[in-house]
């Protein structure tokens, strides 16, 4: 079952990848305000670290759930 699910999901995935666009840089006239100072001061790294922590936490949770279900599947055979 998982093989089939995986097959179709991957098919869709690579189909979408095939849509890869082309692009080129375009420069505008006057300077636009960006968070240059924020990055220069290094503060943005704090936000990135927080987000990564949350992301790792969620992924760890999903992996644990995955393992638990795998164990149940083994037990029910």
């Amino acid at each position: 079952m998982h093989k089939k699910v995986r097959f179709w999901s991957l098919l869709v995935l690579f189909g979408l990848l095939g849509l890869t666009g082309r692009a080129q840089d375009s420069a505008a006239g006057k300077p636009v305000e960006m968070a240059d100072r924020l990055r220069a001061d290094g503060k943005i790294y704090v936000v990135v670290a927080v987000l990564l922590t949350i992301f790792i936490g969620i992924i760890a949770y999903v992996i644990r759930l995955d393992r638990k279900i795998s164990r149940l599947e083994k037990g029910s055979k």
Partner: protein
């Protein structure tokens, strides 16, 4: 471990998306400013939703073709996964709109289209639960799901592009045009953000499918 390679790939791609998405270079645009980075996250939600709905529709076709009950379960769970990502896409889009278009909701064709598409899928769940006969539920559900999928792309992509919209991609322009984003963003968006979010959606959906199969097994033994 080898059969889980795609889960590892998912984590790698999304970690890269977060790191490069925040720290990588982006074009400087008025109004948008740094919010342009939302592309990696907000648009990723929609691509995950479209992929999950596509798989769901494929399994609905399979169900009608082969009448195997498991296909109905796959179709249902993929639709549910797609709905979760769709709601996240709508919510993140609303937040982004507040700071660029001026309001959380401005009845923009893109917003209305996305809301209609999601309502059509909500109706799929309601329709299924209105029937107690399992066979009938699966069969009518599959037919409805295929029609819902047929309405998905017109409502979220085609109609909003035919009319004037605040969202990129209005008036016949492609949403992913070179005026809005450049090659540096493209190289994060297509190879990392889109497949990463899709794989996460598939991962969570397969967990739900496996759980549901265990529940069914337990019920049949009881």
């Amino acid at each position: 471990m080898l059969k889980n390679w795609w889960k590892i790939l998912c984590v790698i791609l999304l970690t890269y998306t977060i790191l490069a998405g925040f720290l990588g270079p982006v074009p400087a645009k008025p109004i948008l400013n740094e919010t342009i980075r939302n592309l990696y996250f907000h648009v990723g939600m929609w691509f995950a939703m479209m992929a999950l709905f596509t798989v769901s529709a494929i399994y609905s076709v399979f169900y009608l073709w082969k009448s195997k009950p498991n296909y109905d379960l796959y179709s249902l769970e993929f639709a549910k996964g797609g709905i979760v990502f769709g709601c996240l896409g709508l919510a993140t889009g609303s937040i982004w709109a507040r700071y660029t278009w001026g309001a959380f909701w401005s009845n923009d064709p893109k917003q209305l289209g996305a809301a209609i598409a999601l309502l059509i899928y909500f109706a799929y769940l309601v329709l299924r639960n209105s029937m107690t006969d399992m066979d009938k539920r699966a069969r009518i559900g599959a037919v409805y799901n295929i029609f819902a999928y047929a309405m998905l792309f017109p409502t979220i992509l085609i109609i909003p592009r035919m009319v004037d919209s605040l969202h990129p991609g209005g008036m016949g322009n492609p949403a992913m045009n070179t005026k809005d984003i450049d090659s540096r963003m493209i190289t994060i968006f297509w190879p990392a953000a889109v497949p990463g979010w899709i794989l996460l959606g598939v991962w969570i959906t397969t967990l739900r499918i496996r759980l549901q199969l265990l529940v069914e097994k337990k019920l049949s033994h009881a």
